[in-house]
Symmetry: D2
Subunit: 362 residues, 4 copies
């Protein structure tokens, strides 16, 4: 059954859970995400199958087979699934997954989360082939350590909030079937798309009219998504453990319409104005879905189902802890703070450090 | 005694308390702010004494005397205190105040809060002479209704978070006396002031180095302060019931150093770089205080003492409620959302609505 | 024949011509725009035909018939042309127009200019029904005075620069027919449109690679267009008498890619990156045209054909002048500076001036 | 004698002169900057005297002595002048300088220009020890080639516009002596400095009131200065060969007060509002000078004396040219476009290219 609203809060208060040991987190959310601990099944998610990636997946599978022999490994349904894995298809009757392992960039994690759009997401252990990502992946070379931290119940998680989106027609009737709800990890964006005209969107917060936006569109973003489209559109960078909703206009005509941040308990409704010159295309985490016409609307709220992402500091912490130590102090080894400076190159001075020589004809 | 850290959280989670009836809020925080309910003492705070203001204060005092006869009324110590009020001086042994009534703009409320810099702030009922303010005052004509809502325990409050600031010398020893802590309601701003040179500020979040800011300075703001200096410097607008800390650079050299929002549990340290070409003047809520030299620093954290501001919707809700109704639903009648559109003139179209006639010589 | 490059400069240096008397301006550009002075033909351009507008057009036509009897009046080809006007169709063999009169908003002037996309634009006298517009229309009630200033050769003009856009295929061959060039008065914008993916656009200035933009798109704008889409996307406001080209990225991933301003002698080429994940839709002055695919490009340059807009101050100056006075001093009565404050509501204070009363249930 | 206003325009139209051969540029401006060609005197300007710098100066002096034997070399008056150079002091009767050679960062070039605040600036050949600078220095290793290009009259120059600033008291009388005018290469900035209060500045363009700025201050910048303070405050990046004036508010209360760009023929007056809560400190190119009190003002205009900076592409072009080739085509080898991408790291992707490994305890 769906979590009751009162439980929801527990779930979406990422800061409380953030540094909780995964083992405890899992037991406390058991009924919801049904993920067993230690994991009995793993889903591997990966988009590009370049040679180094195929090699890395092979090694990882070998390692799992040897080290965690009873564990079943699944792959998404596609022609080139790695040998030794079974096909897994999303849906209400899909097989239970206890751990998701992703290999790729931020987009791969977004995709993995989207596979669990109906309810709880199993813990996500993400690897990159070497580039730093905003969603804070482990380096692929650390896969054994990462898995060990998970299987020994020592990994800590960052619950990344999601937003659930419900669409309504002109009569404020829910569009689609009863449980047709969309979960986004980054953002939902309404955009004029290829219409040359500005659209007009009425924005309501908790039922109160906030403003009428005349613009290219509007973004409602999670803290996780604050470094994605929202940032490009002028939004602030929000720490992923804050429970908040970010509202950012895209190229608004009104210069005083600046980005806003609301508590995650707020519900934001975007309604295409009756006389809007353009409809609005909807994209969620970068995937195009609906078109909303004048009078139609979408309501966005914190989802009861965050994405439990395993912290990279799970590794560096590992082995440090004292018996009885049930959690990691707030902020200690915050992967996000550590990485954001590199990711955004805050300190990039204007001057190239390199010795630049301009001689003769270059 | 000071609230223990664990109690702190209760206190600084404004959203929980936001729409709580004042009567309950007060009893639950009793030991901290010691404000009695119903109020036995009122402090009137006001800066400018123009004629209409003096008249309004007179009427208000008359009303209090007649309607709430036992209540003592205090004034700040200044030559022109209204007759019938006693002088009140801030400090550890000051007389207990159960309600603060302010008359003036946003600056008057900032000033009132600053009078209670050592501990809890009594509930604040604020009035303006007619202009809409960001801190959401009542209209002065509604003073009787406002007081009635308070005395009948029906007023709801918005706990506006404050930040406490502690200053350290080059050896990381606390400057000043042991309990020398500053509470700000808007922000603390470090600025190069009249030095022509950029300063260099190392920023740490929860002890981790975030970045080195080369800029005019840095602002650490509350959600309340997000519409003040922080907004002018490019920061987002943050709903005052969110528990968060906003970090905004002032004219930074690095174009990718964008405003950041952290959970209110974060502690932010700003340390003037050892080789910074300029010192940094500190201003807190618009009052200048310290100068920080290279190596010196300030640590900013959510204060255990928010400012309990009485909601204007206390009036419109009044009389509506059912027996047993212990709180107001979230977001119902959110003064802030209702006002922000007017305050920022989001909808100000570029075209003046007026019929503009340009004829002959103007 | 097309103007030679050397003549071009004369033409696109709006500042020189800005305050020149129309009569002189026309004679000096005669061979190009072929507009006779005093005007023998007028084209009326108008989009919406609401009742007050129809009335206004009627009055204006009456006035022209009586006051300037030999003058022929044309209308665009549409079912509801005003009686007494002849149909006019744009094209290489269209009838010669000596004066364009527009009635409507900024969009109407854009449309009027677009009718003369192959060469010179006749002087444009624009009227609005009362709202202030960025393209600085006269108030409709002043139509007689406006026409008088024109017919007496006393009107001064602001030459609003246009940009000419040439499209190239992957082999850098010109797309379309030989003289397929587009003239824009506001801007050319490349945008990912309804693709969910960022596109990659290589930007060259005078043949040198400036940068690779990963973004929603890129705007190349005139000073006139700087208050239109460019402004919403974060661009500066550029005085229309400056000869410059504005380059503004739309929601770029790189935070340091800020708006740029180049001399109008620069040529800007936008080329869709070979590996761009999305194509780019092109819109020019708000009208959608091409789609550019990876490898295809557009080159944008100052057009030899500006739009000569009649200054509103032509009226207020009128009658003031001394014999022999051949021009109006720079900046004297600059409509743009006078209006921009109102248009942008710079001075809009945050506080509503209105006395806001919140009492009882609102 | 001072150049007459009519000559001024020639001089401040940098685009015309930009790519002109230095030899021609010098002869055409001869009467003004009196710089002889080929140079007979060189002024060396440098701030820091670190060991590598002292070495480089030594080598450069040796080279000049050997290669251009008759040329006199001067140094600024300071204790540690290089041997073999004479002291030079700025002022109306200072010795004539035909070439300025700077060694250092952007600040050194600003300083060199400030030495010629009364009139024309000799051509400036600037070197850096290896870092890329916004003012486009040569690499020090190329000093022989740089000098050769100058002495052979093959160097091209970029005339960087300056602004001249005149200060007025409350009665609009000029402050200081009759010819007390300041020339800035980057910008003049008015700032509240260490006052905690916003100041109010009335801005006039060509005598017309543009707006009243309530802010930390206002910047009036050249295109050269557009990448300095102006950029940090949110201004656009302007190509240095455009003749324009940039106006940027610093932390304005009004969100719609956006950066503006005017033709260089505009005169901008900033007047401290009569009721401004704060005075404004003035800094010019980063040097603090006046304080302006309420009622006092400064008028800023394009200066007749630009700074003729020798283009780095003088070297790469060198040797290429055909006899009779009198200039370099516009935009060909534009140092600025070539460098700006590196300088601003537009293309800095968010992801570090480095292979980041996080293993064990880091
Ligand atoms: N103008 C812009 O900045 C636009 C951004 N997007 C973003 O792209 C996302 C979809 O990503 P992909 O499927 O990978 O599409 P994609 O392949 O088009 O990549 C989008 C870029 O955004 C990055 N990204 C994704 N999530 C991020 C996050 N939470 N923080 C920082 N960077 C993040 C990716 O690493 C990639 O560089 C959308 O959710 C949206 O946020 C989509 C359209 C336009
Ligand atoms: N460039 C800027 O925007 C600057 C802003 N300030 C702000 O001024 C505040 C002090 O205010 P006053 O004592 O009244 O000084 P003040 O009389 O100089 O007024 C500052 C302005 O800020 C407004 N303001 C104050 N608190 C606000 C809030 N929370 N949200 C929106 N607007 C607010 C006031 O109503 C007033 O319009 C400081 O806390 C700082 O936030 C101070 C310096 C520069
Ligand atoms: N997000 C945005 O701000 C967008 C803006 N546009 C602008 O719309 C223009 C087309 O205008 P319409 O045909 O009237 O379409 P429209 O009816 O969609 O109106 C666009 C708005 O822009 C205003 N506008 C037009 N030219 C202007 C100028 N030079 N300065 C200031 N405001 C101006 C119009 O008055 C109108 O308010 C395009 O050239 C483009 O600049 C187009 C798409 C998105
Ligand atoms: N918040 C800010 O960005 C501030 C910037 N400044 C700038 O500093 C300049 C003075 O420079 P310095 O004497 O070197 O002082 P400084 O040593 O304080 O350096 C200022 C920085 O600005 C850079 N800079 C100078 N001129 C530049 C230009 N035209 N384009 C790009 N970067 C430039 C310098 O390389 C240096 O990194 C002023 O003219 C002003 O533009 C001054 C105060 C504050």
């Amino acid at each position: 059954s769906l979590p009751s609203p009162s439980r929801t809060n527990l779930f979406i208060a990422p800061h409380t859970l953030t540094r909780t040991r995964l083992s405890r987190a899992l037991s406390s959310v058991q009924t919801q995400n049904e993920a067993s601990y230690p994991p009995k099944s793993i889903l591997i998610v990966n988009k590009l199958r370049t040679e180094p990636v195929v090699g890395a997946i092979g090694e990882l599978l070998d390692h799992v087979r040897k080290t965690y022999p009873g564990v079943k490994v699944f792959s998404e349904d596609r022609p080139d699934i790695p040998s030794g894995t079974d096909v897994w298809r999303p849906g209400p009757h899909s097989e239970k997954i206890d751990l998701v392992v992703t290999l790729g960039g931020d987009g791969t994690i977004l995709h993995a989360a989207s596979l669990f759009s109906l309810g709880a997401v199993p813990p996500v252990l993400s690897f990159s082939m070497g580039t730093l990502g905003f969603l804070l992946p482990f380096h692929i070379d650390d896969f054994a350590k990462g898995l060990e931290a998970v299987f020994q119940g020592k990994a800590t998680i960052l619950n990344r909030m999601r937003l659930s989106c419900t669409f309504y027609d002109k009569e404020r009737k829910k569009m689609g079937s009863a449980d047709d709800e969309w979960q986004v990890m980054n953002e939902i964006a309404l955009h004029r798309g290829s219409s040359p005209h500005l659209n007009t969107i009425d924005i309501y917060v908790d039922g109160q009219h906030l403003t009428e936006a005349v613009s290219d569109g509007v973004i409602v973003s999670t803290p996780t998504g604050s470094t994605a489209y929202s940032l490009s559109a002028g939004g602030p960078i929000v720490h992923p453990s804050l429970s908040a909703v970010v509202l950012v206009p895209i190229c608004p005509r009104s210069l005083s319409f600046r980005p806003l941040v609301f508590p995650s308990s707020s519900s934001v409704t975007l309604c295409i104005g009756d006389r809007s010159r353009a409809a609005a295309g909807v994209s969620m985490d970068g995937r195009v879905s609906h078109v909303l016409n004048p009078g139609e609307s979408v309501t966005v709220q914190a989802s009861p189902y965050p994405v439990p992402c395993i912290n990279r500091s799970s590794i560096s912490d590992y082995g440090d802890e004292q018996p009885g130590d049930e959690g990691v102090g707030p902020g200690k080894e915050d992967d996000w703070v550590r990485d954001i400076n590199n990711l955004l190159q805050y300190n990039a001075t204007f001057r190239s450090k390199a010795l630049l020589r301009y001689s003769g004809k270059t």
